[in-house]
C-alpha cells in the first residue's frame, strides 16, 4: 500500500550529447514532470513499477 500515482503521457527524452535515452517526461498525478533514469528517484521507481505491471508504456523519443 504505497502512494497512489496516476502516470500518463510518458515519453523518453534523449541526451543532446550522446543521443541515448536520459529522462522521461510525463504527467504524474496531474504534475508535469521530467524524470531522471535513477531508480532512487521515486517518480522513476513508480514508472518502472507500472511498466512492469503493464499499467503504462513509455513512448520512444522523437
Amino acid at each position: 500500500m504505497d502512494r497512489s500515482m496516476t502516470i500518463t503521457n510518458a515519453k523518453y527524452n534523449t541526451s543532446s550529447l550522446t543521443n541515448e535515452n536520459c529522462s522521461i517526461n510525463c504527467v504524474a498525478n496531474g504534475q508535469t514532470v521530467s524524470v531522471p533514469l535513477d531508480p532512487d528517484n521515486t517518480y522513476y521507481a513508480e514508472i518502472l513499477r507500472q511498466v512492469a505491471d503493464g499499467t503504462i508504456t513509455i513512448e520512444d523519443a522523437d
Partner: protein, 368 residues
C-alpha cells in the same frame, strides 16, 4: 553537577528530533491547496504528504498561522470539504512523513540494543476524534499503531513505541532510501480497521490491524484537524519540542524538494546556457543544497510559461526535459530547452527564464 545523558549519542541535546519540519514552518509548494483526496500529494507543508486511496472525501490542506503558543506559529490544517460517510473497505487517508534509513541508525532497530522511540505532537480538531499514530517500517514491512484523541484545544500527545528487537533480521538499511513512515491515520475502511489493533509491539504487517478504532475525518464537512510540533526521538521520554532556525529547516527540506519561483519577476532567471543546435538550448539549474537523489524537474505544465533570453529577445520554449549529461547528484541538473521553430543560433549563450509570467517555476523533487 549535571548528570550525563545515558543516551547522549543517540538523542543529543541538539538534533534529537528526527522529524524534518515538525514545526510546519516551511511550505515551498503552496500554503493552501483545495480538493485533495483523489491521489497522494505533497501539497503544502514540506515533508508532509497526504496519502489517500479510493475515498470520495476531499480536504483542503493549509499551512495555518494557528500554532500553540511557544511551540510554533504554524500548523497543518486539514479541512474536510467533501464528506464520505459510506466507507469502502479499501479506503484510507493518512497525513504522513518519511525518513531515510541513514537518518535512523541511532534507533538500532531490529538488533540487540534497539532503542525505544518516542513521538510527540500537538494536535487539536473541531471535535473529539480518535485517530492513529503509526510507525511503519518499510524496509521490513513491520508496524505498530497507537491511538490518540483530539479535543478542540491544543493537546500534546507523547507516545513511546517499544524497541523492535526481533530475530535480528529487521534493521533499517543504512542508505538514502525510505525506511520508516510516521503516519497519522485519519480515515480507513475495513481492510485497515477490521482486525485487532497492533499496539503493543512491532509486528509483521497485517493491514486489518493497522487502524482499528479510528474515527473518520470525512464524517462531516465541519471537521478540521490541526497538527504541529511533531517530534520523534530516541528513548522513552518526550523532551520539549526542539526549536530550529528557519534556515536550518529550509535546508533540510531542500534535500528533498527545492523550488525557484517567478514571483519576483515575470522574467525570472532560472539558469544560463547555450544553444547546441537551432532547436535546442542547454542549461543547468543549480541546486541550493545537495539532494537525496537525482531530482525530477517539475514545471507548470504550460511549456510556453518558459523561454530562452538570447540576443535581446525571448524565444518561447516548446519542450523542457532533463539532459542526462549534467551532474544530477549534488550540484546541478542539466536541461534541454527545445524550440520546434529552430529559433536558436548555434553557439550563442543565453538564459533560461520565465516567459513573462509569475506563474512559472522550476522545482527539483527528490522526495521519498
Amino acid at each position: 553537577m549535571t548528570k550525563a545523558r545515558t543516551n547522549a549519542s543517540a538523542s543529543p541535546a541538539v538534533g534529537r528530533n528526527i522529524v524534518i519540519n515538525g514545526a510546519m514552518n516551511v511550505a515551498q509548494r503552496a500554503t493552501s491547496v483545495t480538493g485533495i483526496g483523489a491521489s497522494a500529494t505533497f501539497a503544502t507543508v514540506d515533508r508532509w504528504e497526504i496519502n489517500t486511496s479510493n475515498t470520495a472525501g476531499r480536504l483542503t490542506m493549509s499551512q495555518t498561522a494557528d500554532g500553540p503558543n511557544g511551540i510554533s506559529a504554524n500548523c497543518i490544517k486539514l479541512d474536510c470539504t467533501t464528506a464520505d460517510a459510506s466507507i469502502a473497505a479499501n479506503e484510507f487517508t493518512q497525513c504522513r512523513t518519511m525518513f531515510e534509513g541513514q537518518n535512523l541508525q541511532r534507533i538500532g532497530k531490529g538488533v540487540a540494543g534497539a532503542q525505544q522511540v518516542t513521538v510527540s505532537f500537538y494536535v487539536k480538531a473541531s471535535a473529539i476524534f480518535t485517530f492513529g499514530c503509526e510507525l511503519f517500517d518499510k524496509d521490513n514491512n513491520r508496524q505498530i499503531t497507537k491511538l490518540f484523541a483530539t479535543t478542540t484545544d491544543w493537546v500534546r500527545h507523547e507516545i513511546t513505541f517499544p524497541a523492535d528487537v526481533d530475530d535480528g533480521s529487521s534493521p533499517f538499511a543504512d542508505d538514502n532510501a525510505e525506511s520508516l513512515r510516521l503516519i497519522f491515520w485519519l480515515h480507513a475502511g475495513s481492510n485497515f480497521t477490521g482486525g485487532t489493533l497492533n499496539t503493543a509491539a512491532f509486528n509483521n504487517r497485517t493491514d486489518a490491524n493497522r487502524a482499528v478504532g479510528i474515527s473518520s475525518f470525512y464524517s462531516n464537512t465541519a471537521n478540521n484537524f490541526f497538527l504541529t510540533g511533531v517530534q520523534m526521538e530516541v528513548g522513552p521520554v518526550a523532551t520539549e519540542f526542539e526549536q530550529e532556525q528557519i534556515s536550518t529547516t529550509l535546508s533540510k527540506c531542500q534535500r528533498y524538494y527545492q523550488k525557484q519561483i517567478a514571483t519576483g519577476s515575470a522574467f525570472e532567471r532560472f539558469g544560463n546556457g547555450f544553444a547546441n543546435t537551432t532547436g535546442n538550448f542547454n542549461t543547468i539549474i543549480p541546486m541550493q543544497v545537495p539532494m537525496r537523489a537525482t531530482p525530477a524537474i517539475e514545471t507548470t505544465g504550460t511549456v510556453g510559461n518558459y523561454g530562452v533570453y538570447h540576443a535581446n529577445a525571448v524565444t518561447a520554449a516548446t519542450g523542457i526535459a532533463i539532459d542526462g549529461n549534467a551532474d544530477g547528484n549534488g550540484k546541478q541538473v542539466g536541461l534541454n530547452i527545445a524550440d520546434s521553430n529552430s529559433g536558436f543560433t548555434v553557439g550563442r549563450s543565453g538564459m533560461f527564464i520565465a516567459n513573462n509570467t509569475v506563474a512559472a517555476f522550476i522545482a527539483l523533487s527528490a522526495e521519498l
